[in-house]
Amino acid sequence: MDSGKVKFFLGEVLRNFSRNTGMQLTAIGTVAITIVLLGLFLFVRAALADAGNKLLDQIEISAYLQPDATAAQAAAIGHFLVQDPRVASAQFVPKKQGLAELRARTRGSIDTALLTENPLPDKFRIKVRDPEQVEPVAATVRRLAGVDNVVYGQKIVQRLLALGAVLRRVGIGLILAFVGVASIIISNTIRLTVFARRREIAIMQLVGATNTYIRLPFICEGLVDGVIGALVALALLAGARATLWPRLLEALPWVQLTAMPVDARILAAQLILTGTAIGVLASWISVGRYLRT
């Protein structure tokens, strides 16, 4: 490649780019909107997954002992729990402490002084390492000798786990749909610019330019559209993250959302890559269709 060739090629790309400003803006706008939607989706998904994990982390299993359970049984249960690798922590809560905690939690709305004897059983408070293991651990503990009943937020655990699975499954489908729709719109936009230059393409073919050579400027154009669109989208997303997200966090204090649930650099890289891929793919398809006829 000599410098004259490079200059000619860049000149052609630039000329095409500036000649169809309106269409370029359309393509860039389409990429930007797609990437904003995709970025929003990825961000919210990460935030929800994060919040869900936090909720799950807080879930503990209460294993109530039978009223006639012996101290030896309690010790055996404690020993078993400590040895189980799935268990993060296990704490023995004697009935006296349980009553004190109950008193503190109800803040005097129940007059415990009226009780002639402590109705609460002893219990173990168990935390697991992985939210997925809440149910299996609970099932194991229930079978231990001396254990009367095992209580944990069954419904919440089941729902959060199901939500996570759905988000993962729907996520991939949605992303593919986003990229597909954007590629179609952009390929139509680029097809318009190809159509606007059909004379030029016909002449290039006539004098023996190869299809690859004819394609190249259009691919470059799509690539530039994709990158610019992604950058615009990133700017919008960063703006929204800086202004709207904190307000949302304030407005929803009971949802445990993190300020930044994803690694911004990784997300940015993913989005720019997607934008570029959309641009290149779309222009490749639209020029290809034209060259084949």
Partner: protein
């Protein structure tokens, strides 16, 4: 240089443009293709530069079996050919120089060769002094000369012209005809499809006549109308 054997061309819409055509054109020949509109002159040229693909028959252009040519080899074929059209097909947003250079640049030619070759062909067609002008600033004859310069810039052995004087007045027609003749004298094989009786009759070169997709006559020094010179009128 060009050889057709039993060539037929049927378009997808069922129109039979050429029917069992055989033709030999030697190196350095000058050949007119004449006939009414729709008799297959343009179709024949289109087959040679592989804009259309023959339905049957064998086509050889400069040693290349065009009828068997794979799609990705078409650019290579076209670099052996120059093609000129009635409507010039110049790019209006490029100067004459850029239009001519374009044909080299898009085939990946080295800038050094472009700088050497473009002035040479512009000089040949007599447009050196207008190389910085845009097509719209030129007369029809000058535009056609620019188009011919573009067709010649890659040093093709064959120049195909489809109604090259169709849009030109008699003066420009004469100029273009003289230019084609000059190009032919330098050794380039020239094939001209034309309606222009005056051009054919003045040149007295080989005339191949097409009627309804078939070659009806092939004369070494022919006239536009069979056996008639300029100024004579067909009765009826």
């Amino acid at each position: 240089m060009i050889s057709l054997r039993g060539v037929s061309l049927v378009y997808p819409n069922g129109v039979r443009a050429l029917d069992n055509v055989s033709l030999e054109i030697g190196k350095g020949d000058f050949v007119f293709l004449v006939g009414h509109s729709g008799t297959g002159k343009s179709s024949l040229l289109r087959l040679l530069y592989r804009e259309a693909a023959a339905t049957a028959g064998e086509i050889v252009v400069d040693g290349i079996r065009v009828d068997r040519l794979r799609r990705n080899r078409v650019p290579a074929l076209r670099r052996h050919l120059g093609v000129v059209f009635q409507d010039f097909k110049l790019l209006t947003d490029k100067t004459v120089w850029e239009n001519v250079a374009f044909a080299m640049q898009v085939t990946g030619a080295h800038t050094r060769d472009v700088m050497r070759q473009v002035p040479r062909v512009l000089d040949l067609v007599g447009l050196s002094h207008k190389s910085r002008m845009y097509p719209n600033e030129l007369s029809g004859g000058e535009q056609q000369r620019a188009a011919i310069a573009r067709a010649l810039v890659n040093n093709p052995k064959i120049l195909l012209c489809d109604e090259p004087t169709g849009n030109l007045d008699p003066v420009n027609t004469t100029e273009i005809t003289a230019l084609l003749q000059r190009i032919n004298l330098k050794g380039t094989t020239v094939v001209v499809a034309t309606h222009n009786q005056a051009v054919v009759d003045r040149m007295r070169r080989r005339v191949v006549r097409l009627e309804d997709g078939r070659i009806t006559t092939d004369e070494e020094r022919g006239y536009y109308y069979l056996g008639l010179g300029q100024g004579q009128i067909l009765s009826g």
